[in-house]
Structure formats: structure tokens, C-alpha cells
């Protein structure tokens, strides 16, 4: 329940910040795509169908704020979230580098996929090179944000609870063995 609340707050905050700040939102001169970060956080924090539902809601939010016809981002975000879930079969935390890669790939696929889909559906000429470069730049800058968030998060956790090992209830042993 706590995770769902965190994700709901993330959905709202990322959409509002991305839309409210627009081009003013920059990391070292590069524009990040915060919903991409959220999508990956969603895929890593929550398992199964609810993760996809949040991804769909994220896509719908982006659709509503984009001014384009509704539906494309919803579909693309769902497909990207499904792919990320399918990649994450072992259930383990992917670590810093893995998470950043997830963010980079997720953002790149979402932004690139949505732009190409919009181009084809609206019969607009698509400049693939420009689109993919832009999606890659957004992926890299969002990955940069992910690194900072993870490092700050770990520092905060270490300050709050310095002991890394805590007692685990007996009922969790099965899940620890099987990963389910």
C-alpha cells in the first residue's frame, strides 16, 4: 500500500513538474523526461499487473498534457513497462548501473516510440535521426537524474538506519529462498 502511494505521488509530481517547467527543466543543458524515470521506478518497485496499470495511467497523463490525440503514449508506456517487466525475471534489485540502464532504455523507447507513432498516425514526415537523438539525450539526462536520486536515497537510508542487516520474520524465509 505504501509503495502504491509513493507511485501515485510520483505520477502526479513528475507530470506536473515536466509540464509546468517545460524547457526550463534541464540537467547540464540536457532536457530530462521525468515520466520515464517514474515508469522505471514503477516497474522496479511494483510487480505484475498493478505496475502496468500505473504505467498506463502515466501514459494517459502524458497524452492529456501533450495536446496530441489521446492513446498513443498510453499504448507505448504500457508496451515499454511490459518489456521492462519481462526483462526483470529474477526479481532481484538491478543495482545502480542496472537501474540507470533501465531508465535510459525505458525513456529512450517511450519517447522515441511515441514520436514515431505520432508521426506515422498523423501522416507527418518523420526525421528518424533527429527523433532518436532527442530521445537518446532525454534518456541520458533522465539516467543522470536517476543516478543522483539513487545516491542521495542510499545516503539518506544509511544515515537513518546505519545497520544494514535487520531481523527477518520467519514467514519470509520461503520468499527469500524462492524469490517469489
Amino acid at each position: 500500500m505504501f509503495r502504491q502511494l509513493i507511485i501515485a505521488a510520483l505520477v502526479y509530481t513528475s507530470l506536473v513538474i515536466q509540464s509546468g517547467l517545460g524547457t526550463d527543466l534541464q540537467v547540464l543543458g540536457l532536457q530530462p523526461w521525468l515520466p520515464g524515470l517514474g515508469l522505471v521506478a514503477c516497474a522496479l518497485l511494483i510487480k505484475g499487473a498493478s505496475s502496468l496499470c500505473w504505467a498506463g495511467l502515466w501514459g494517459l497523463g502524458v497524452d492529456c498534457l501533450s495536446g496530441e490525440k489521446i492513446g498513443v503514449n498510453l499504448v507505448v508506456a504500457t508496451i515499454v513497462a511490459s518489456s521492462l517487466l519481462a526483462l526483470r525475471t529474477d526479481g532481484r534489485s538491478p543495482g545502480l548501473v542496472g537501474t540507470v540502464m533501465y531508465v535510459l532504455v525505458g525513456t529512450f523507447l517511450w519517447r522515441g516510440g511515441a514520436a514515431i507513432a505520432h508521426g506515422f498516425l498523423n501522416h507527418r514526415p518523420v526525421d528518424f535521426e533527429q527523433l532518436l537523438v532527442r530521445a537518446l539525450i532525454e534518456g541520458v539526462s533522465t539516467g543522470g537524474i536517476a543516478v543522483s536520486v539513487l545516491i542521495i536515497g542510499r545516503l539518506v537510508i544509511n544515515v537513518i538506519s546505519p545497520s544494514r542487516y535487520s531481523s527477518v520474520p520467519l514467514a519470509n524465509h520461503w520468499s527469500m529462498l524462492t524469490g517469489e
Binding site: L21, A49, L52, G59, I70, G71, L74
Partner: protein, 322 residues
Amino acid sequence: MTSQSLLAACCLVLLGVGLYLGPPAVADRVRGTINDLLHPGLNLVRLSQKTIGNRLDGNVDEAHSVGGRPADNRDVAELADALAIAQERIRQLQVRLAEQSERQLPEQEISRAMLKSERLIVPSLVEVAVLGDTLADKWRTGKLLDQGAKNGLRENELILSARKSPRSLIDFGEDAQISTEDALLLGRCVIGKVEYVGRWTSTIQLVTDADYAGRAQLIRETSDGLFVFGEARGILKGQGGPMCKLEGIPAESSVHVHDAVYTAERDGILPTPLYYGQVVEATLGPDDREWTVIVKPAPLPTRLTKVQVLRTAVNPERLAVK
């Protein structure tokens, strides 16, 4: 992925496709609800941005104040450099502002300027609607109006034969004195021209379309802030992609990236040239006799719904019996 996840993914994809293809009223209602939900957050972000921006500006002013301690410690040369950079930035912003104001001049102002003319043939603007794909298809297939040529209620064949063409339709034709080659404007930017004129509708051709061609000239701002017109003239051609090509600029002309491209009509009907776009690439090989100039046309909105057609008509003032 579990079967439950797969089912959820399929449902979401179907929902997305449904919203995309479904009636616009449903999509509008969803959009309205989500926008209403996000509205308080957006207001908060904008307010915070404004407050932080004001505070930062206040701090910068304080640090740069002549009597303040930080300013005393600064090197004079450093300050002079900063001043030069700021002045250059202000100059660039002024040029941009002038360009933007020029492009967004309201159509009433253009019409007013044109009506004052004493010339026999004067241009006039008419606002037209670009028909959506569904409506255009219905019109072309005769679902809206087709009582046959005998009854005089049939659209021009040139319009109807473009049934499979991706060209958009506008809702004015011969009845509104629209002619072939009339310029299509958005604000003060030329975005295309009228291709075929029917009785009540016409097809339009955008500057980016492959077979678009129109006279154009380069306008450059000199270091003194003056604008040099008509040094280089050529033909602007659409390429079927996002960029256009300006052909026919001789090698001896000077062409620079960021030069503005304006119309260069020969009949002098227009009071001022109209904006096409900006040079983004200009190359001249050692053996070339002409420049290869790539032009980025003025950006179009996602959905083109209303545009203006610049038509020419006989000046009513001159025809009036005195």
C-alpha cells in the same frame, strides 16, 4: 510475465487504441478530467518557479550593485566582459522579439493596411477552415453534396479526383474568389499555397510538400542592425520532408546560416515580403555555380485548423462610381 500482467497489458493497449480511434468527445472528457486534476499542481509549480526566479534575480541584483561589497571585489575587465555579453544577449532578444512581432501581426492590421491602397488590384485576407480527414473524405465521395453537374450541384472534378491524395481541403473555393497559387498564411508566415480551386472547396499544398515551389529572397541583418533585402533570390522548393531547399542562389551571393527567407513576388502586390523560414545549412563546393541552401520553414501547429488565404481582388474604392 504472468497471465494477469499480460491481460492487463492487452486491456491497456485496447483502451489506448479505443481512446485514439473513439469519438473525440470521450477523449476530450478524459483530457478535461486529467487536466483538472493536474491543474492545482501545475499552478503550484509555476508559482514556485516565479518566486524562485524573482529571488534569484534579487540576489543577482544585490551582488551586482555598485555600492555592494561583492561588486567592489570584482575586476573591472570582468565586469566589462559581463556587460558586453549582457548587451549582446539583449540585442539578440530584441531581434527575436522584432521577428516574432512581425510574424504575429494580426490579420486585421494587414487588411487595414491593404484597404488604404490606391492600387487597382489589392490583396485581401480571408480566413478559411482546413477540413478534417473524415469531413474531407465525405465531401470528396459526394456524401455531403452531389446532385450532379446538370443541377449545378457538383464539386469540381479536380478536387474530387484528388480522392486518394493526402492534400488537405479548405472550405473556400471559386465562390470566395480564391485562385490557384494564392498564398496560404499562418500569422504572417507563408505555409503553402492553393493548389486546385473547386466551386466551394480548394486543395492546399504546404511548403514542405515535394512539388511546392515559390519565389524567395534572403534577408540578412548586418552588424549595424540594418536588414539587407533581396541580395540573393531563388526558388524555394519543398522536399517532402521537414526541410525545404532554396535553389538558384548564385555562388557570388553571400549566404549565411540563420539568414531569414522571405517571399519575393515580382508583381509587387504585397506591401511587404512574407516570412518563409530560416536558413539552417548553406554549402558551396569549389566547383559549384550555385549555393545549396537548406531552409527550415516556420513551425506549424500539430493540427492545422484555421489558416488565411491571401487572395487578390479588384480594389472596391477604385470601382466605386464617384
